[in-house]
């Protein structure tokens, strides 16, 4: 999760998010260079004593400020398109989970092998135990095996919601009557937090998402326990 007053992106927990982090650094460096250039030009223009009211054209500078931006745009577009196509690659998922948005909670269904389903409500602030995060914890987490391609089918039962987990680089709109698909691989074990990302009513800010990535053996144990409790 984000730490207090964090400005940048969270640490990546999936290969796609790692690539997005690298691309973000690349784009940010270019933006900072251009901003420095603009600042320098502004200072230069404001502080000069030279005035020439009769400058009509200058071929050299026109060529520079046409070619250079085109080159910079290409330098940004190439890695961007690479990641775009990387995110759309067909990966054979080991597990499919349905995430359904409701007002105001998420429900998860693991129906590949057995019928396992549960609701995931936010833990109210007064019920938190020390060490838990306010407005982020849920009573039941979406547990997934790590290092396995996971497919998530996202939809909604009532109004628009959006299922987002920043550390995994995943966000998908939950539209009633529509099934949206997203996929990810969790590279390391851990607990990853997200929040509903489409305005959905009074408690839009209070329906978080928690994904817990565990080794496959622990995932199997967890699913057996959940089936027994159901």
């Amino acid at each position: 999760m984000a730490h207090p007053s964090q400005l940048g992106l969270q640490d990546a927990a999936s290969p796609v998010m790692e690539e997005l982090l690298h691309f973000h650094d690349h784009a940010l460096m270019i933006v900072l260079l251009i901003s420095t250039l603009v600042l320098y030009i502004i200072v230069s223009m404001v502080s000069t004593k030279l005035t020439n009211k009769y400058i009509l054209d200058s071929q050299e500078i026109e060529i520079v400020w046409t070619i250079l931006p085109a080159v910079i745009l290409i330098l940004i577009a190439l890695p961007s398109l690479r990641i775009l196509y990387l995110m759309d690659e067909i990966n054979d998922p080991h597990l499919t989970i349905k995430a359904m948005g409701h007002q105001w909670y998420w429900s998860y269904e693991y129906t590949d092998y057995e019928d396992l389903g549960f609701d995931s409500y936010m833990v109210p602030t007064q019920d938190l135990v020390p060490g838990q995060f306010r407005l982020l914890e849920t009573d039941h987490r979406m547990v997934v095996p790590m290092e396995s391609p996971i497919r998530v089918l996202v939809s909604a039962e009532d109004v628009l919601h959006s299922w987002a987990v920043p550390a995994l680089g995943v966000k998908m709109d939950a539209v009633p009557g529509r099934l949206n698909q997203t996929a990810f691989i969790v590279s390391r074990p851990g607990v990853f937090y997200g929040q509903c990302s489409e305005i959905c009513g009074a408690n839009h800010s209070f329906m978080p998402i928690v994904v817990e990535a565990v080794p496959l053996v622990h995932f199997e144990n967890w699913s057996s326990l959940m089936l027994e409790d159901a």
Binding site: H22, M29, I30, L32, L33
Partner: protein, 116 residues
């Protein structure tokens, strides 16, 4: 837990408060190359023309182009290395899984399998 990590390591320098130079790959090298390129370009122009203001402009242009070029070159090589690293990791993982089975790609076919 986050506080302990922050106390343990030095606070990195953040360019314009956003880009962490120390933890971002290629950032430090690109900026140092840019600074060097700026000095060289500005100095050479001044020595050739003795125009101070224009030499500053040339120096800044040198900084911009050198930083951009160094950054893009380093990031490209970094991306190629990352892809290779991922391929090698997959190969190691698969080798551990498939070793000794019939689908091990490094398995040499036995003599009786060759004849049949």
């Amino acid at each position: 837990m986050a506080d302990e990590e922050h106390n343990g390591k030095k606070q990195g320098f953040k360019l314009m408060g956003i880009l962490d130079i120390q933890s971002t790959a290629c950032a430090r090298e690109a900026l140092l190359h840019g600074a060097g390129g700026s000095l060289v370009a500005g100095l050479l122009h001044f020595l050739a023309t003795s125009r101070v203001k224009r030499s500053f402009d040339i120096g800044f242009a040198g900084f911009f182009l050198t930083t951009l070029g160094s950054w893009c070159y380093c990031r490209y090589n970094n991306a190629v290395l990352r892809v290779q690293q991922r391929v090698i990791q997959e190969g190691i993982k698969n080798k551990v899984m498939y070793e000794g089975t019939s689908i091990d790609p490094t398995r040499k076919p036995k003599a009786d399998e060759k004849s049949s």
